[in-house]
């Protein structure tokens, strides 16, 4: 049964849609938080309300049919900023229902390769941001970082920073997607919260000192005889530089 499916944008919401669709063995025209208007001219959008009980039933089946690695890929693709991400997941799951755990290795299959590639992009970006986050010490006793990643990588990097900076309060703010992670020092856990797109932190005097030190250190490190700006730009794209102290 083809059609256009609308859900609330949560992972449980998407799993609810999948739990409904998979038994029918068809790929819909579109799945989205707000599917394109034009398609609804020809077929009506079907709203799928998130059903936690259905998800609970569906989850064990999902784990049984997929390897942990594949499940992780699906999560990565879910966090991708890509219009057809839900369809990619849907096509992939259909194949998994048909072929079983073997899909884990069918890397060249047309229903697998695009998902794999997108997941890899998200994974790479998440890894890069383990390094590209720059905290600033803010009055009020916490560390603030603004980033603007292409994909919604915050849930993928949160636990890394929570383990590493467990003795300081910190916030990582994704200005592209209007959300952020807040780490609570007392409870020792992090939360993903919606945040305003712009914020101007009030920096401590110490902060300015360390930023200057870092900038001067960074400039000193370069060996002039080996200058290779093209290589540098490949590694640190221009779009991330506004958020990096050393390029400020």
């Amino acid at each position: 049964m083809s059609g256009v499916y609308r859900y609330d944008g949560s992972f449980s919401g998407l799993l609810t849609v999948m739990a409904r669709l998979l038994p029918q063995r068809t790929v819909p025209d579109a799945i989205g938080i707000d599917p394109p208007q034009q398609q609804s001219l020809f077929c009506e959008a079907i709203d799928v309300a998130t059903d936690e009980r259905l998800v609970e039933q569906f989850w064990p089946e999902l784990i049984a049919r997929l390897t942990p690695g594949c499940l992780h890929r699906i999560r990565q693709v879910f966090l991708a900023d890509y219009p057809e991400r839900e369809l990619l997941i849907c096509r992939y799951l259909l194949l998994a229902w048909e072929k079983g755990r073997g899909v884990a290795g069918m890397l060249a299959h047309p229903q697998v390769a695009p998902l794999w590639k997108l997941a890899q992009q998200v994974g790479h970006e998440a890894h890069r941001y383990l390094g590209f986050v720059r905290f600033q010490e803010v009055n009020g006793g916490f560390y603030y970082s603004a980033i603007a990643p292409d994909h919604r990588i915050l849930p993928l990097i949160a636990s890394h920073f929570a383990a590493r900076f467990s003795d300081q309060q910190w916030v990582i703010h994704d200005q592209n997607h209007g959300e952020g992670i807040v780490y609570d020092l007392r409870q020792r856990h992090w939360l993903l919260l919606p945040m305003e797109r712009h914020a101007k932190p009030d920096l401590t005097p110490d902060e300015e000192h360390f930023q200057q030190l870092w900038r001067s250190y960074f400039t000193t490190l370069a060996i002039d005889e080996r200058q290779n700006l093209r290589l540098q730009q490949g590694k640190v794209p221009l779009k991330v530089r506004p958020w990096l102290v050393e390029f400020g």
């Binding site: 890397l107 890894h127 010490e137 300081q168 005889e225």
Partner: protein
């Protein structure tokens, strides 16, 4: 504010002195954060890249640039007239934590000039690291340089506090070392290296008995060679590296193309392409560590140097065309690894994907395998896509066609500023 600028000056001078140490990795350690700050990521994380394209993951700094040694290639040598400064252990620790909290760095790389005696210097380094580990409860990555000639007890302490330790060989041969670094002896370098290796082996055995035993240098040890300052061939260098990997179980050997930072009559004139040579040596090094090649296969007495215009794996393949083409659906993993253009990731993906069915050329492209070079050396489902006969000279010219342009541009970069290199050459060759 005066304190701030003083710190700025010191950091500049001491970073300047440490930047020629090329070791940059922050990988291989599993140290976990226990109620303090920081942990070590086993995959290593680069935090930024400098304008020469090298990654920055560690605060790489000298404790002091004063030195009682007089090595010809070194900026900090005794006879060089530069400003001498010193960071106290407390200052090193404070700086590291300040940078780390802001996520500028993945950890600390601490090296130093030798002051007073090797033991005294080593004690300074150890105190800085101990402050970090004990006072700040820092569990991030620390790479500590061992001072040649330091007491074995100090070497042991260093390994218990750091994630990786290293002592630089600097020059590939004993003769080279005697010529350019008369105060350093080969034995003073090899001694600690051998000690660290045996301590790591003992520690590994002890940890099998009890997990409570503290790790000793969990990320192993590395070393560095300066290439091109003396007359060693690539064969000598690659063979030395192979021995270091096999006998000393080193994690990494770094190669640093010699760039004259100080003029000295003992130093050679600048060779044509030191960076290209450095690049080829790294490629050969990778083949030793991850691709199952031996030094003997890559270089022999008749060809003691790596080719500049072809990577070492392609060069090897062209000398062994009787082994090609390889059928991608049947070959063992070890054989796949020997195909030019196919790396560890591609080989793993091929092995994984072909369990689900025979792969065609198109499938390979979908897996992300780059076929630019590989297609001349493989068949997929029996089909060959190289569009030319497998013939050594023919293939060589084809493989050289594309990369030549890009490589040349990249190579010229460092020397496209005539004032810098010409000056250096005339300075040195004039005296020679």
């Amino acid at each position: 504010m005066a304190v701030a600028t003083e710190m700025m000056d010191k950091l500049k001078i001491l970073a300047e002195g440490a930047k020629y140490d090329v070791s940059c990795s922050s990988s291989g350690s599993f140290r976990r954060n226990k109620d303090g700050i920081g942990n070590a990521a086993s995959c290593g994380i680069c935090h930024t890249w400098t304008s020469d394209g090298r990654c920055v993951s560690l605060l790489k700094v000298l404790m002091t640039n004063s030195c009682i040694f007089d090595c010809a290639y070194c900026v900090n040598r005794r006879s060089n007239d530069v400003q001498r400064v010193l960071l106290t252990p407390a200052e090193v620790a404070e700086l590291t934590i300040g940078f780390y909290r802001r996520n500028y760095i993945e950890g600390l790389f601490l090296s130093t000039g030798v002051v007073r005696s090797p033991d005294y210097t080593m004690e300074l380094l150890i105190e800085a690291v101990r402050t970090l580990r004990e006072q700040y409860r820092f569990n991030g990555y620390i790479h500590l340089k061992l001072v040649p000639g330091a007491d074995p007890l100090l070497v042991q302490q260093a390994g218990l506090l750091a994630d990786r330790v290293s002592v630089n060989l600097e020059l590939p041969t004993r003769e080279g070392l005697a010529l350019l670094a008369p105060d350093k002896s080969r034995d003073a370098v090899i001694g600690p290296m051998r000690q660290v290796n045996s301590l790591i082996t003992i520690n590994r055995a002890e940890r099998k008995e009890s997990r409570k035993v503290a790790r000793f240098a969990p990320a192993g040890q590395s070393t560095q060679l300066i290439v091109g300052a003396t007359k060693e061939t690539d064969r000598q260098i690659v063979t030395l590296s192979e021995q270091l990997y096999q006998r000393m179980e080193l994690k990494r050997v770094y190669y640093s193309a010699f760039i004259p930072v100080v003029a000295d009559t003992r130093l050679p004139a600048l060779p044509n392409s030191p960076l290209r040579r450095e690049h080829r040596l790294y490629q050969a090094d990778w083949l030793l560590r991850y691709y199952g090649f031996s030094a003997q296969e890559l270089l022999d007495e008749e060809r003691p140097n790596l080719e500049t215009d072809l990577d070492p794996k392609t060069g090897w393949a062209l000398r062994h065309l009787e082994l090609f083409p390889v059928e991608i659906n049947g070959a063992d993993y070890e054989v796949l690894l020997r195909i030019p253009g196919i790396g560890v990731r591609s080989a793993q993906r091929i092995v994984r994907a072909r369990r689900q069915g025979h792969l065609s050329m198109d499938d390979l492209a979908k897996l992300g395998v780059v076929l630019k070079r590989a297609r001349y050396f493989i068949t997929a489902r029996g089909r060959y896509a190289g569009e030319c006969a497998i013939d050594s000279t023919l293939l060589r010219s084809r493989l050289l066609e594309t990369p030549a342009k890009k490589g040349a541009a990249q190579l010229e970069l460092p020397f496209s500023r005539p004032q810098a290199s010409d000056e250096a050459i005339s300075l040195i060759s004039g005296e020679l």
